[in-house]
Each structure stands twice: as C-alpha cells, then as structure tokens.
C-alpha cells in the first residue's frame, strides 16, 4: 500500500522541514500496510533536480515530479495528486499541515469525495481502508483518537508535534516525471508571488523568541524586549491581548491563531499562559517565564521562572548581557 507524501520545497530547493516530518509519519503509515512511501513534488520542468538523495535518506524509492504549470495553484496540485494516486495505485496521501498542505488536501478531499483527517500525530492501518489515528483538536491542546474509513486515506500532519527521522535503511530514490490532465478551472486560482521577503529574523524559525504579553503594559514597553531579542539574535513574539490592543502587529502573535514557534529558548514575559497561547509554543525546547504572579498558568508549562516585574527584570538583564 503506497503512501504519497507531498513535499514542499524550502530555501534553495531543499525539502521543507515540515515536509520531512510529514514524510516520517507517512513512512510509518505505509509500513503499517506493508507498503512504501513515495514523495511528490511540484516543480517547473526547468527547476534544479529534486532533492533525491535527501528523500532517499527518509526511505523514499520513488519521487514523482508533477508538472502542473508554473507556480502554486491549489486545485491543480490536488488534481495532480488525485491522478497520481490512481496511476501509482496509492492507498493514502499525506501532507504537512502547513497553509499549502492543509489547503491542497482539502481540495483533494473535495475532488475525491473522501474524508480528510487534519493535524494527525500518529496513524496506522488496521485493515485496508481503515486507519486508526491520533489528531490534534484545539490546536493540540486536546488529542482525538479517531477511526478513518476511506477508499483513499487522506491526512495532514501536525508537523510541530512529530519529529523528522531518517529511515533505518536509506533507499536509492529515482525521479519520475508525471503530467496530469488539468481542467481550466483547476488553474483559476493561482499564486502570484511578490519578490520581497519580510526583513529580520523570522518568528517561525527563530532560535530565540522573546515574548511579551499584557504584562508589558503598553506599546512603549516593547522597546526593551526588542532590544533583548536583538541582542540574542532572536525575534519578538506577543500574545493575542497585545495584538488586539493594537500594541503590536498580528504577524508577531504566537499561538493557535498566530504563528507556531519552535525555538531553543522562549522567554515569555508578562504572559499568563492561556491554552491558546501555549498551543503556539508546544515545541519550544526551553521556556523561561517572567511573571509577577507565582501561580500564573505559564509557570506550570515553563522550565524556569523569574517571579518579578518585567519592567525591572528585563532592563537589568539587557544591562547584564551588555556588560559581559
């Protein structure tokens, strides 16, 4: 039972980390049905070769390079996957639960009339067509055990909760080109990319995130947090209270309806630790909380805490780091 896994390409044409995590779950699913995982990527014909060696390390023997025109068109990508699933006799299609992965799988579910289980962290077939899985609800604050009965098993993977693990025995990946039959309607919605990248350290991939919540007190209070983030080569992240007050822009929000972060260190200042906020930092390696309230919920999620007023602690910390 072959499982197709959608691979998104990151910087320099390498497979995106989220896709390698999805590939790890896809390989386990394929194994539970005695089959293999195959990788699918959408790249214009003239693009540099797909990262075959990298995918081979994850146990991929077959890489399908689908020709679906230039750029990203969600319905066209889904049509390509639907046709490839038939031609490769696949029993499942898996993607990372990124904006694109979630969107393409939703289209694929609609095209094939099959259910889609979103944000899975584990999945295996117990018999053909019947999959036992665990998925996130409430952005990971709650787990759902579920059964998925379908002629084509469709899943997205909550990639922040699943590690990327290369296969025990790597495979020699071979690249096949695949040309689906697209309808004009599949290409109506197509992304036009603007060239400019937003500057600075990206919140989603920052090694250090300095977080600020309502406890910062107002827009002026973020200056010193930004200074600290700059010193540590990190990014500023904030809670929803901060964005809904208009103190900081929404793109800096961490949480269920903001950005998911996975830094080495998350220094959360004046943030209470509401479940929707914590959903955005489930995969932070170390959390340090600075809070005046020793009973704030965040203390139960943090590894370390400083009990105190952030408007005193943070400037003193900046000064101490500068003095080193």
């Amino acid at each position: 039972m072959t499982v197709l896994c959608l691979i998104e390409l990151g910087d320099g044409g390498a497979a995106a980390d989220a896709s390698l995590r999805a590939l790890t779950l896809a390989r386990a699913l394929a194994g539970s049905g005695g089959g293999e995982v195959a990788a699918v990527l959408f790249a214009p014909a003239d693009a540099a070769g797909p990262p075959a060696a990298e995918l081979g390390a994850f146990g991929v023997r077959d890489v399908y390079a689908v020709q679906a025109g230039d750029g990203y068109a969600p319905a066209a990508w889904a049509r390509g996957l639907a046709e490839l699933a038939v031609s490769a006799a696949a029993a499942g299609v898996v993607a990372a639960a990124t904006d694109r992965g979630s969107e393409v799988l939703a289209h694929l579910g609609a095209i094939t009339g099959q259910p889609v289980a979103a944000s899975c962290i584990a999945a295996r077939w117990t018999s053909p067509g019947l999959c036992e899985l665990v998925r996130h609800r409430w952005a990971g604050s709650l787990l759902e055990d579920a059964a998925l009965e379908a002629t084509l098993t469709l899943l997205t993977v909550a990639s922040d909760a699943v590690p990327a693990e290369p296969a025990a025995s790597p495979a020699d990946a071979e690249v096949h080109s695949f040309c689906p039959d697209l309808a004009d309607t599949d290409l109506v919605v197509r992304a036009a990319e603007s060239a400019q990248r937003s500057g600075g350290v990206s919140l989603a991939t920052a090694r250090v995130v300095v977080g600020g919540g309502r406890g910062v007190g107002g827009p002026e209070g973020f200056e010193v947090l930004e200074e600290l983030a700059g010193l540590l080569g990190g990014a500023l992240g904030v809670s929803r209270v901060v964005t809904s007050q208009g103190w900081r822009p929404h793109r800096q929000q961490v949480g269920q309806t903001g950005t998911k972060i996975s830094p080495e260190l998350y220094l959360a200042c004046g943030i209470s630790g509401a479940i929707q906020h914590m959903a955005g930092c489930l995969s932070a390696k170390h959390i340090v909380a600075v809070n005046t309230d020793p009973d704030a919920p965040i203390i139960a999620h943090a590894d370390y805490a400083v009990i105190g007023d952030l408007s005193q602690v943070i400037p003193a910390l900046v000064e101490a780091i500068r003095a080193r």
Binding site: P74, D99, A110, P115, V188, A191, T257, V306, I307, V313
Partner: protein, 256 residues
C-alpha cells in the same frame, strides 16, 4: 455585495480544556461559548466591505438551538441577517457541514433572492480544526477558493486575496462569486455598539433543519495530552534573579 459569513459555536476555554467523564466532549459546564477569532474577523471584513459598497451580510451557523446566541453576537457587530442550520447537538463532520452550507447557497439562488457574491469562512474551526469546510463548499458550488487569507482588496473583476508563505507575500486574483477563508490579523474586529446589541436582540433568525449524515472520520474519544513539563524551577525574585538568568542563557548557548 451580498456576503455570507459562516461561524461555528465553540466553548470558550481558558487555562485548560477539561474533557467529560465519558471522554466524548469538552466539559462546558463552567464555560461560555464563542466563535473562532478567524470567524469574527471574517464578519468584520464582510461588514467593512458592505459599509464601503453596499449590499448585506448574512451570518450562518450550523449548530444547536443555542447557537442563535453566537448569531446575535455577530448581528451586534453589524451583520444584517442571520440563519441557523439547527442540529440536535450531535457533532457534524466537515463533509456533512459543507453539504448543508452548499444547500443554503443553492436555495438562496433558487428562491430569487440576490445570490451570494462572496462566502467567507474562518481558516479553521477552533475546536475540531478540519481546515476544509470552505474548500468543500467551493467545490460543491463550482466556485474558486482561497484560504489562509490575511488581506482582501477589491479589483475590477473581483478580489485580490493575499497571504504570506515562507516569508514571501503571495496573492490570488479571484473572480466573483468566490469562497475565501480568512485568518485573524486581516483586520481588528470592532466592539459591538450598544445600538448594535439592541438591534441584535430583537432581530429575527431564520431557521432550517438539515439532515445529519455519518462520515468516514469518526471520533473514538478525546483526551488531554500528557503534561511533559514539570513545575518551573524558580531562578529567583525580581532583579536579584538576573545573574542566575544570565548563567542559564549562557548554558543554553544563546548569549552573543
């Protein structure tokens, strides 16, 4: 522009989610109800468009009779009409939900009322997070769809919808009618005004009763993930904790 916005009634959860003893639901005895922030932003976006160019906003929810409360909340934000797709409280899956929503759009077209030009959704529901109802509705109606949208602008032929992908801005040109699912951050929703709330209290809510259907994804049970972190080690109080904090940052290798 005639706009429909789809919102879902979900429990308002604070510090932690509690599951009922039978493991089937979120315990809501102590909580209020709300809609996802994405959906509230969808309503705000629709109200702003209608304020600019006329038309009307219809808010629609599929849920138990009590979901009328959430419709009134949205009317208070400036929507003109409300429709309840009433259920018996059972959980509906995304396929059945999308089918019931697509029927609403079709009946409206059949009934002679001006058809919807724009169907706005949240990017995902707050509770079940399926990331799919809007796209399924688009396919059922043969409409173009864009998801995860954080900026909407009017163009000659329709709409330009934009979002960010891996740090790059990408935009989609959509003809109307279209389906768009939006994310929090697209706007800052207003607070309901007092006249708005009074109007919402008196407003009529249309009700229809769609048919539930089973689907391939079935819930077996819910559980709270195992807490992996222990209570934090307290480094100290106030600025006296700073040397310990610096030592910790050094140990983690994050100091310049």
């Amino acid at each position: 522009m005639e706009i429909a916005v789809f919102v879902k009634r979900v429990p308002m959860v604070g510090g932690k989610v509690v599951v009922t003893a039978d493991g089937q639901d979120v315990d809501t005895r102590m909580s209020g109800f709300t809609v996802s922030p994405h959906e509230e932003c969808a309503v705000e976006e629709a109200v702003q468009i209608v304020e600019r160019e006329g038309g009307s906003v219809t808010v629609v929810t599929l849920g138990p009779p009590e979901a009328a409360d959430q419709l009134r909340d949205m009317l208070a934000l400036g929507a003109q009409h409300a429709l309840l797709l009433e259920t018996d409280g059972r959980e509906w899956g995304p396929i059945a939900t999308a089918a019931a929503i697509a029927d609403v759009a079709r009946h409206r077209a059949d009934s002679g009322a001006a058809p919807f030009d724009l169907l706005l959704f949240g990017n995902e529901s707050a509770d079940t997070g399926g990331f799919q109802v809007g796209v399924r509705v688009a396919h059922a109606l043969g409409l173009p769809a864009a998801t995860g949208i954080k900026r909407l602008e009017r163009t000659d032929g329709g709409l330009r919808a934009s979002r960010e992908y891996r740090g790059v801005q990408e935009s989609y040109d959509l003809p109307l009618p279209a389906v768009v699912s939006v994310k929090e951050g697209i706007n800052l929703p207003r607070y309901p005004s007092l006249p708005g709330r009074l109007r919402a209290k008196r407003a009529a809510i249309d009700t229809v009763t769609p048919q539930w259907q089973a689907e391939g994804l079935r819930k077996i049970g819910l559980r709270v993930p195992q807490e992996t972190r222990k209570r934090a080690e307290v480094l100290g109080t106030g600025t006296a904790a700073v040397p310990a904090l610096v030592a910790l940052l050094d140990e983690l290798g994050v100091l310049p």
